[in-house]
Amino acid sequence: MATRPTGDLIVEVTGLRRAFGDTTVLDGADLTVRRGEVVALLGGSGSGKSTLLRALAGLDADATGHITVPAHYGVVFQEHRLLPWKRVADNVALGLTGADPRGRALAALTEVGLGDRGGAWPAELSGGQAQRVAVARALVREPELLLLDEPFGALDALTRLRMQRLLVRLRERHGFAALLVTHDVDEALLLADRALVLEGGRIAEEIPIGLPKPRHQDDPGFGGLRRHLLDRLGVPVV
């Protein structure tokens, strides 16, 4: 069951369990995210990264354990998941309450560089643009926490780099915390304050990433952490 956070810890998960039939995917996972912190969740294919994120997003009724998440959170999936029958601005404004939802949607679109595409249909956008709209849709809810499920995994390498930079900029401006599920070690090292390795249904290792920001792959210390994480994920650098 989910409760609301108090104090500095914005996400608190204890004893999270989820099984699909006989296969136990999450076996008592514990994790915390502090206010404004970006945490990368790494793990091999099928390690339960996405299952964990879905449980946090409230999309998995069968997961058991204690989950604390803030009331305002946004989710960005690997696919943009925009409603094809709503124009871009209406997709961003979907479910918004309060004053001037459309104006706020357009402001969020401007922040991701798509202020002029509010009237377009999702099908008219490129993959990268659609994903930016998905980010705007999460952002417009003024989230304290962003749940990102391999958000840039389906994009080409150049677009992915642009999106990673956009995310860094948006985080600096809005100060949200983020849980970033990824299989991309470089992405984790570029974006996160802390990396968690999910293995055997639990958080097997926690690695603080103390590299100064803004980060670059050439930074000293980057290679060492990269090697360590890849080694941890079962792909040792030879």
């Binding site: 999309l59 696919e79 124009r87 979907l94 249909w121 999702p122 849709r137 809810r141």
Partner: protein, 274 residues
């Protein structure tokens, strides 16, 4: 960009080219029907086709004009249209309501879908004798037949349309804070709309077919009655004209639905353009 440099060499841009080539192609498609019409007319005029069996197209047109001028055509047409409309509304409403219940609720699926699947195997036009016993030979029979004919295509397409909705979109809507009713309104309904339109087109087709059969059972008015009465007096021209009216009604209703579909599903045009 290199593409802008090569574009003028290729000639006119694609949309203009498409528009230009569509004109003649449409025109070509008229040649064979017109030839058939001319052959038919010639064969009828020369006596190759006996007038009592197949009247000349000109004669059919003349008959149609006469019926239109003396007003009897409109009277019968209005009665046929009324039956079709009432039947369609009853059958359609029932189909959409039941299909939505079956597709959205597990208990609905378990209770509604099995009997509907079984009933689908019955040819509904074969129910005429039973329907006569149940509701008599009056207006109820015609309306029930249309409602039955319209029900099945609309039921199955609505059901499939709702079931085929991408669950990932429903999830995304949930993370945007939409409650169940809002998800129904913003995700399920618009997502099922293309199938609903397809079902509606099929339902209208089935509805007309049912009406044709229904109006041949002891009707006092309607296009079908017009044809049955003409048959008794061997007025083949009226029979053929009645058939053309039915065909025209089918074509007209289908075109109207397609226009409504194109307006409502504008987002799909963007999908097709990419």
């Amino acid at each position: 960009m290199t593409t802008t440099a090569t574009a003028p060499v290729l000639g006119t841009p694609a949309p203009a080219k498409r528009r230009r080539s569509r004109g003649p192609r449409r025109w070509y498609r008229l040649i064979s029907p017109l030839t058939l019409l001319v052959l038919w007319e010639t064969a009828a005029r020369t006596g190759l086709l006996p007038e009592a069996k197949v009247p000349a197209p000109s004669l059919v047109a003349e008959t149609g004009l006469r019926l239109a001028v003396d007003g009897s055509l409109w009277e019968h047409l209005l009665d046929s249209l009324t039956r079709a409309a009432i039947g369609l509304v009853i059958g359609g409403t029932l189909a959409v309501a039941l299909a939505a219940t079956a597709a959205l609720l597990r208990i609905g699926d378990n209770t509604i879908d099995p009997p509907v699947q079984m009933a689908r195997m019955l040819p509904h036009l074969g129910l005429v004798p039973l329907l006569i016993i149940w509701v008599g030979i009056g207006e109820e029979l015609k309306i029930s037949l249309v409602a039955l004919g319209a029900f099945f295509p609309l039921y199955f397409n609505t059901y499939a349309g709702i079931r085929d909705i991408d669950q990932r979109l429903v999830e995304a809507a949930r993370t945007c804070g939409l409650n169940q009713w809002q998800r129904l309104r913003h995700v399920v309904l618009p997502g099922a709309l293309p199938s609903l339109f397809l079902g509606l087109r099929l339902a209208i087709g089935a509805g007309w077919l049912s009406l044709v059969v229904g109006e041949q059972v002891n009707a006092q008015t309607g296009i079908g009655f017009l044809m049955m009465e003409a048959r008794e007096f061997a007025q083949t021209d009226v029979v053929v004209f009645g058939l053309l009216v039915y065909a025209g009604l089918g074509l007209l209703s289908d075109t109207l639905i397609r226009i409504a579909e194109r307006r409502t599903l504008a987002w799909r045009r963007g999908l097709q353009a990419t």
